[in-house]
Amino acid sequence: MKLKYDLVIIGGGPAGLAVALEAKRNAVKDILLLERDKYLGGILPQCIHNGFGLQYFKEELTGPEYAERFIVKLNDNQIDVKTETMVIEITPNKRIVAINRDNGLLHIQAKAVVLAMGCRERTREAIAIAGNRPAGIFTAGTAQRYINIEGYMPGREVVVLGSGDIGMIMARRMTLEGARVKAVLEIMPFSTGLIRNKVQCLDDFNIPLRFNHTITRIEGEKRVERVTVAQVDKNLQAIPGTEEKISCDTILLSVGLIPENELTGEVGIKLDPVTRGPVVNENRETEVEGIFACGNVLHVHDLADFVTEEGEIVGRAVGEYLKRNRKFRSQSIKIVPGDNIAYVVPQYIDFIVPGRKKIKIFMRVKKAAERVRINLLDDKGRVLGSYKKRIVTPGEMVSVYLPEVLLDDKLKNITISIKGD
């Protein structure tokens, strides 16, 4: 088996697939894609609902269909794939140790590495719910896998905690399969998922969504029997006297996603404390030259389409990197999150690229706001550029273009802030 590659991609979800194909289009020759599951596509094969591809393909697809569009092209492009292969170590000089049944341990040398490991779901403990530890508590994504991949229903009477996208989609999915979803509870005063999911998954099925509510206690020794639900105050603390018991046999948790950066951390790559993904420049290249990251391992995206877009940025960047003709700026420009901005990606701009007109900057806001301006400010607080937005919410990623002409040599920081219009 071949053990030397120009590019090794870790993770065969939408990010990894996009990187592989785009890198090939950018003249990267030997590419290996490593995937720990039996099949490619990451989480997409279990996302049998529609809503994928509206941005990227301009048509509506299901998750498996969206993944298929990319997977079929891998073969035509002679991209090596190893499934059921788990990467256990990456070194800064791009040696990868992986393991599978057929080969045992693989020691692979790459010229460039792309981290595309995706994310994992936050668990009950991340939010410290008191009570018993019975069967019947699932993260929404695990329940989705049981129903759509394994072919089994994990519950009949369901309470969903968290209005993340997967939680809302699973509330609908379980309803369609004959389960009774008694409530979706959201601790915040707003939905943390996409508005379209709230409408299509909850409102259309009369599933009650209760804001400012959480589960304070889980009861049931062997299997979940009921939950105590309470309203929370501004500090997200349960308000005494508002408790109410709901009987159910199943709790689905949709309380957030965490980029899966254990490998990244072990290489010694710096992580952004807010995104919990690596700090990257506009090429999505980490602190270690030649190691890139994209998709949900970098920051959690709303849509697979955006992940694909980011994967393609990296595919092109790997091509440039391997050609060794990149030109660094005299100093990096740091993009700093300002008022009401939780995070920005990329965090740095490092390169001078002839012909580049603008750079897309992605961000998430801290609080929902209407009729705002997103301002780009220089070191002295002067407004370099300004964009109007009708509405911004933490549930939906926001992007603005940073025009290349604004980037002069002396610039050290660009702060992005949101202001009422």
Binding site: L105, A126, M153
Partner: protein, 520 residues
Amino acid sequence: MSVDEMVFLFIIQPGRMSMKVDVVIIGGGVIGASIARELSRYSLKIILIEKEDDVAMGTSKGNSGIIHAGYNADFRTLKGRLNIKSNPRFDKLCQDLKVHFKRIGSLVVGFTEEDLKRLRELKKNGEKNGLENLEIITGNKLFELEPNLNPQAKYALYAPTAGIISPYKFTIALADNAVINGVKVLLETEAKDIRIKGRQVCGVVTNRGLIETRTIINAAGLHADEIAKAAGDSFKINPLKGEYQLFDKQWGSLVNHILFPIPTKLSKGILVTPTVHDNLLIGPNSYQVEEKDDPATTRAGIKEVYAGATKLIPHLPHQDLINSFAGLRADIEGRDDFIIEASKKIRGFINVAGIESPGLSSAPAIAEMVSGILKEVVKEISPQLELNYKDDFVETLVEQPRFADYLNKVGEWQEIVERDADYGGIICRCEKVSKGEVLRAIYQPVPARSLDAIKRRTRAGMGRCQGGFCSPRVLKILSEELKISPLRITKKGPSSEFLKTKTKDMIKEAGVKFKDEVKI
């Protein structure tokens, strides 16, 4: 023994069992398992019964996992004596049983002059107990030992012989070793009554039928008072709840020793310690509850434990909390010591009750003591039965390779995968567990039959994703190996099944009809 026979051993149909043995041990906690192993040195027919689907399901899985040095309890008590006697045994015992044990030492941390006085008292008590290497540490040395300690800390009692262990892994290994030496472990087997004939024990009635025996060892933990009552002995066990929180394994190195606050009369207080698996553990609080089988955590408890631990380590990584749990301890009303004695009312009945802290630390010596008591009892009731050492007693378990232990020497794992490809398929990403290890857990002497049982043996599901990734995979393996439907696979025994119906069956049950053809 073939796999089929082994499975048969543990799955005896209810009502069909009728057995006659020399000794029945009631309870598969660390005490029951220690006794089983100790008695398996002799040519005796022994059955250990456990009401849950695995051993170590009560107090033995919900505790701090500390092997105490032995300065706390008075030497005149069983607690003091047996702890001191047991502590030095753990190195060899754990080596034999292939259980991780780390003698990292403990520090009882003091802040005031008053605390210093208490530390001196503890030291004195420890010295009376025969501990020679206790030391009071002050000033800079304290922070050299524990850089993250509360800067206001001034003194500490250092006990180098304290250690950490996984209490459930230790229990499982003891039980495995006992099974290898001929003990039968019957899971999901609950003692319903004790049969007595003319003030002599003659059997245990279980949910699976009668087991005839002339000696019974009551190691039923929190329920030991109920079992004792059936034999005419009366004492009352009050369950004491203790809640814990566990942090991701990147934080085990936050502390280097087991850190205790100044103990109170009631408890040793909320401690901070690394675990043998490099997690960071804090807890327990301690309060009396009514229910013996309700290890539920409470909101107040979670806060109390966290606040208590921050007194020792002010900066805890709350964002990396991965688990909280509670354990219940068997506290005997009106008594501050273990009960380890033959019943004075009924012959052939031995109580081993009230084994709260330092019960885990004392387990080896408790087992020996019980063995001594049993010899006396047997002399009295069946003089013809001689307790002879078997010459084929197997003292050790075979080291079983775990992928997580090979991460620094992965090259050596290659051989293992070449012998058995299942060791190359990684099932649990967080704890790096291979399918081979999961299969081994299903077929080990005390076999894992539920996801939690697999988790305790292999750590699959113990990590930061808490089973999100591995649980569908482990469930599938269990279903394939046990040749039962995934619908019957449980989290922790009957009534804790994961799945309800096949997809589409639920909607069909609801009476919804599907059209045969769907046009898109």
